[in-house]
Symmetry: D2
Subunit: 378 residues, 4 copies
């Protein structure tokens, strides 16, 4: 029987559910040395915490995250709270010797992120950030194809993350469900929320970004604030686009917005290389588009690969070819890889240090947007 890994979760929102589901399901599908045990969930409101615990099977609840950190029966802390709390909790957890699984983005900014990296590396605790899209099988396959050199020299990278849920001017900002619209809690708007995902994938697959030129826009300038009850200035970016040059010489465009009608969560990327190209999107996450110029001339065409075969990353664990998995499985995979890393000693990425690189690009993007200059990352 597998060994327990006792989890203490802080937060219980949308991501709290996604992580909990990852913990609950992993051992039904992956045969690993460790299995997560849901020891405790922590939230300021006891009733809410208890309801969540009942639904997901957490054994206990806490209302003070510091109390949770003091418990000996907790091995790992899941930091699943708004961005402005990541640093304080993570650093304290590291000091308490806990492993840490932190929601993305790592921090409010690079300076904060650096203190977090220093803390976990000093404590020597396993650490990971929930950039889950790396573990969508089609994305993992894309990484594998690039690493194998199948695209040859890379010329272009482009990514988008398009949503449309804040177009209505009467959507308020702030509070439990809408902290992502509140600059004080989120740090930035789409840059940290959505582009951070695009950047994490890009750095993982295509290497470092050297320079960026960005623009941001806040289309709706004022919104009612849930915490104050008043109409207040909106501090976040509603949309952000930037040009970039990678270390490997390739050019890139990145764009994100919450004002693109018809797109709910359309994260897309495309990579063009000398010999082939890859494209993927989150609305059909179980497919990967692949073009191979080395195919016979009359038969060249974009292939739509249904990433459900046993040979595809992670897919031998699930059903049979042709039967797709969904969004939530990326979290199960991330839990599985984290558990496996405890056995192998090989960290499961992205670590805090990996995620700091994404933070550096985000900061450079916001800085460029602010002053209208090309900015060097890092």
């Amino acid at each position: 029987m597998p060994k327990p890994l006792n989890i203490g979760m802080i937060g219980y929102g949308f991501m709290g559910r996604a992580h909990s589901n990852g913990y609950r399901r992993v051992s039904n599908f992956f045969d690993l040395e460790y299995t997560p045990v849901l020891k405790a969930v922590c939230a300021r409101n006891k009733e809410s915490a208890q309801a969540f615990a009942n639904t997901w099977g957490y054994e206990s609840v806490e209302t003070d995250w510091r109390a949770l950190l003091e418990r000996d029966d907790i091995d790992a802390i899941d930091v699943c709270v708004p961005n402005n709390l990541h640093a304080e909790i993570s650093i304290a957890a590291a000091e308490a010797g806990k492993m840490i699984l932190c929601e993305k983005p790592l921090a409010m900014n690079v300076a904060e992120g650096e203190t977090m990296v220093a803390a976990v590396e000093k404590a020597g605790v396993p650490n990971m950030v929930w950039y889950n899209y790396r573990r969508v099988p089609a994305v993992t396959l894309a990484k594998q194809l690039v690493d194998e050199g199948r695209l040859g020299r890379i010329f272009h990278y482009r990514a988008q993350f398009l949503q449309d849920w804040t177009i209505a001017e009467d959507v308020p900002q702030g509070g439990a469900a809408l902290w992502r619209l509140d600059a004080a809690a989120a740090g930035s708007g789409v840059t940290g929320d959505l582009l951070a995902h695009c950047i994490d994938t890009a750095l993982w697959i295509n290497g470092s970004i050297n320079t960026v030129s960005a623009m941001t826009e806040t289309f709706v300038k004022e919104r009612m604030h849930n915490l104050t009850g008043k109409v207040e200035k909106v501090g976040i970016d509603d949309a952000c686009a930037f040009l970039a040059r990678f270390e490997n010489g390739s050019l890139a465009t990145f764009e994100s917005t919450r004002y693109a009608r018809g797109h709910k969560a359309l994260y897309t990327f495309e990579i063009n290389g000398e010999h082939g190209s890859i494209a993927w999107d989150l609305h059909d996450l179980h497919r990967l588009s692949w073009f191979d110029h080395r195919d016979e001339g009359i038969l060249r065409g974009w292939r739509s690969i249904h990433v459900t075969d046993g040979e595809h990353p992670y897919m031998d664990k699930w059903w049979v070819p042709g039967l797709q998995i969904g969004y939530e499985h990326s979290f199960v995979h991330q839990v599985a890889d984290f558990l496996a890393s405890l056995s192998s000693g090989e960290p499961a990425g992205p670590t805090f240090r990996d995620a700091l690189e994404t933070q550096k690009v985000c900061d450079a993007v916001l800085s460029s947007a602010a002053d209208g200059q090309w900015v060097t990352v890092g």
Copy 2:
């Protein structure tokens, strides 16, 4: 806290996993009066049963299904074994007063199915057959659109279920993993395995089928038999296609095969009505295609609906708009609906009696293919 519904599962193959996953997950996402408890799994081989129990959290194992039926702590029996055992076990379970959730197709033939229906109705036990595709949200939505009369008079129905896994002649027949290729265990080939799904959906959405004209083919005539170790005649149909006329006057074509290269599990259907048309396929099960002739002329076009909004069937239980679910969720929904039916007293379809109608069409199809005549169903 919800009340327990104690499950005894017989079988532990591919479908055993899918059902177990349904039981394990339902209460994390659906707030119901009952919650499944995995009391026991039963299989002839104790080690295999125990391994499955460990993975999925069954509390105990049995090696004799009759012993399972005798246990007082079991409320519902899940019949998850090859087709030739459905009748015997289901009838005994009914006589033991157990609820029954039986894998599809209901039976080896209509005669057998009728005895099963008689048994469950005599015993008065809740009963259901696992035609899971009804609970893919896009399929449920299709049913809803037809029921609301949005298509008007229906002219055409067409369905396919295409696979390609038995093209190689050295695939053997029979035994644990390949009983679907063994006529003695399966009864028929693609007709009962795949077309039965298409027929269940069709009857549910479009009403009764009156007459059929069918053809079947067995492309590979002999295969090594795993149970005898000898090359033996293949008794199943590798492919089956049929024409049909529905009670409502619409025409239909149905086709299934395991010899369609490039299609792993491509169940598709399309319905054409006076005012609109619907199309769906299992390879992108989270989408529904919809054409509405009442749209403004210059803007008419097939819509690809990403069935992930909170207003879509079942989708308020999962993530947020834009984030897709997968194959396995259809089983979670079926468990949820079964549990809800225990509270409401309204049976969750398809019941054994509903599934008998599908069996009647399957028998008519095989009969028509055998003698080359149009056959009246029932």
Copy 3:
């Protein structure tokens, strides 16, 4: 400079335009020994004929097709009139020693078709039937792939031709624009109009059909008749579907209707073979879908080939890669191939004899639909 081939066209409807465009454009793009010269167009109504001649550049008009056949300055007759006139005109043209390009279907029935074949073969005149879809480059490419054996053994063929323009009950039948709905002029409904295209392609690519089982339906039983001004019984089939077995052992389904909402001219076919599969549809006629099972496992997928490269059939004559052609180009290609056949002496298919085979399948289909039996073709 190329030699003239003097054309006399009989008829000036939709197909008259398509053929005329073929004649007018071929020499701008194809470098051939012959070039069509538009000598005369013939129609009963002189004004209409003259207007058509003005638009398309015909040098003269005739109102009596027999007068046209007597002219020495006409090399080839284009029979572009309703189906019930094909035989009489074609036979007279053959007797007058003219080459004949006849609209499809060849005839009202097999018996009539046989007299036409006898006439052209006795006269020894070049003859061709306008089954134009063979010359869509993607379809020609499909034929080439099958001929090269790339699919291996063929298991399945399926074709559809779906339209939706006769759903409204107040569409009348008969007369100039609507003779296709009048059984007296058209012979049959969708079978001769649409399925004939599907059958021509199928026989060309996949060989002979042995047996069929069909059903037809007339959804709207009565329509106002333009020629009588009265509501009359509709004699044509609105929809037709049939099962078939090919000589090569493959199974097929064919379906056509004018009652499929959302489909204007959706001719589709798919072929499944041992090693690969092909799919095509007329709504995106410049693409061919191709699946090759011999591709590396993790990278297998349906390729969407944009059939616009210089290496693709006919495409070196047009623009540059990536720039698509349309529907009308199939007729230009057919003219080009007919002209080339005059130089090479190799007939350009489908000849009248080829088209007679399609007629035999159509007749078998209608016979099967009438008496509910499987019918042997020929």
Copy 4:
């Protein structure tokens, strides 16, 4: 019978064919007051000019474009030569009182373009630039939808033009077929060749661009030059991407490259507005994607409009619904609109003055790429 408009064409390359086809076909499909007459084609090499004249039916040839301008029997000059000759010829043609149809981009730069605009406006001659994609029916429909306010406030515009034909390092630069790779003849690379198309459409549909931030790259730094026979530095941009802000407040990204494997001529644009979104691409130019947020919630989805109905722009002139046209038809439409403008007195856009606006954006883009700053257009 229509009145002749006598055309003198200068040049006979790829675009010479496309324009000639436009002139040759327009009167078969459009019923207009004027009809083009192909009076003369002009090229330095007499044999080539004569061969082209034979193929396309030009009545005469010239080898000196100044001689062509002096001919009284020429009404309109088609300037279909490399970019560095547009200004000199156009200005001389204007001075000779000829109408001018000039290939795009208008000029080598804004300064040159301004002299051209001054010349045609002084002469008062009808003038037009061949930005043909405005006349793809789906693009025209997109313009119509935006003009009607169906999208509401526009938030985002994005466009790409992706090709892959210069990836091989042994493609030479310069000379007849490859002048587009020679900075001396082309002025710029993808910016003037491809992005100019994207910009023309964008300005037409979405109004003025205020500011841009751009980057360009030349991936292959040296290529053999066909005119000198030596390996020489490549002066053009292989790729260009830029951020932009429109006058209406919307944000934009534009990108073009000849290094995107798998894309031959993939011009795409997408527009996101308050109420709806539009997307189009050149590889399936007969379709328009449309999302309408005002559709009923459960049925919202991107519609794929098959732009082939009689109600769609230009499509009543061609075939019947469901039958697509292709690339070349955009030129036929542009000729038709130019001819119609002669009757109505309403200029057919883009005029030289319209095209100068596109030139201003191109110059701003190249300037921004050169010095790494945001640049104000105009």
